[in-house]
Amino acid sequence: MSVLEWLAAALLAAGAFFFLAGTVGLLRFPDALARLHALTKADNVGLLLICSGLAVLGGSVRVTGLLLLVWLLAMLASTVSAHLIAGRALADDDTGDPLDEGADERARSEGGT
């Protein structure tokens, strides 16, 4: 493996680590806002690292440009989505979902988080 390939491998592995961090945050953090915070940050960094690794591997300007565009769009989309979902999470004061069969039981068992 050449130096470039080692570099790419390192970038990809780091990206994978950040995705893992995002997933752990999604599963372990206590409330929706904290989870959102962990998820969007970690995923964007993860995607950046993976895109960089792939750009190193791809080795052409066109591929690099496309990967950069994908990452920028992902930033834009996750910024807007996170903002909107956070607003929803703030406005959301209960778990009551009239179309949810198990909502009541869950709300009772989780103490209405």
């Binding site: 769009l73 834009l76 996750s78 988080t113």
Partner: protein, 99 residues
């Protein structure tokens, strides 16, 4: 390198499976949307890796489509919030068509 890329795909897939637990658990709709967000970016990453690994550049375009359109579902989800708040304030939603 021929091993690293598929290994990365498997790793991301396992990540996704773990994230599914949050969709299952909820408890709020926002939590479930969060997980969908995670799946979106993970899928994009996987498509990009697959494009490199399988030498199939068109998959990068597919990934581009996903990131480009990812926010649409979130915006629709917010329409859901406001509709819900509105519905709670006024039991009878307005029925006039918007001209």
């Amino acid at each position: 390198m021929s091993l690293l890329l598929p290994a990365l795909v498997v790793f991301l897939l396992l990540n996704l499976v773990a994230g599914l637990w949050r969709v299952f658990l909820g408890p709020t709709a926002a939590d479930r949307m969060l997980s969908a967000l995670l799946f979106g970016s993970t899928t994009v990453a996987m498509l990009l890796v697959l494009a490199q690994w399988q030498q199939s550049p068109a998959l990068r375009i597919a990934a581009l489509l996903f990131v480009m359109l990812a926010a649409i579902t979130s915006i629709a989800f917010v329409a859901l919030t406001q509709g819900r708040v509105a519905a709670r304030r006024a039991p009878a939603p307005p029925v006039e068509p918007r001209q």
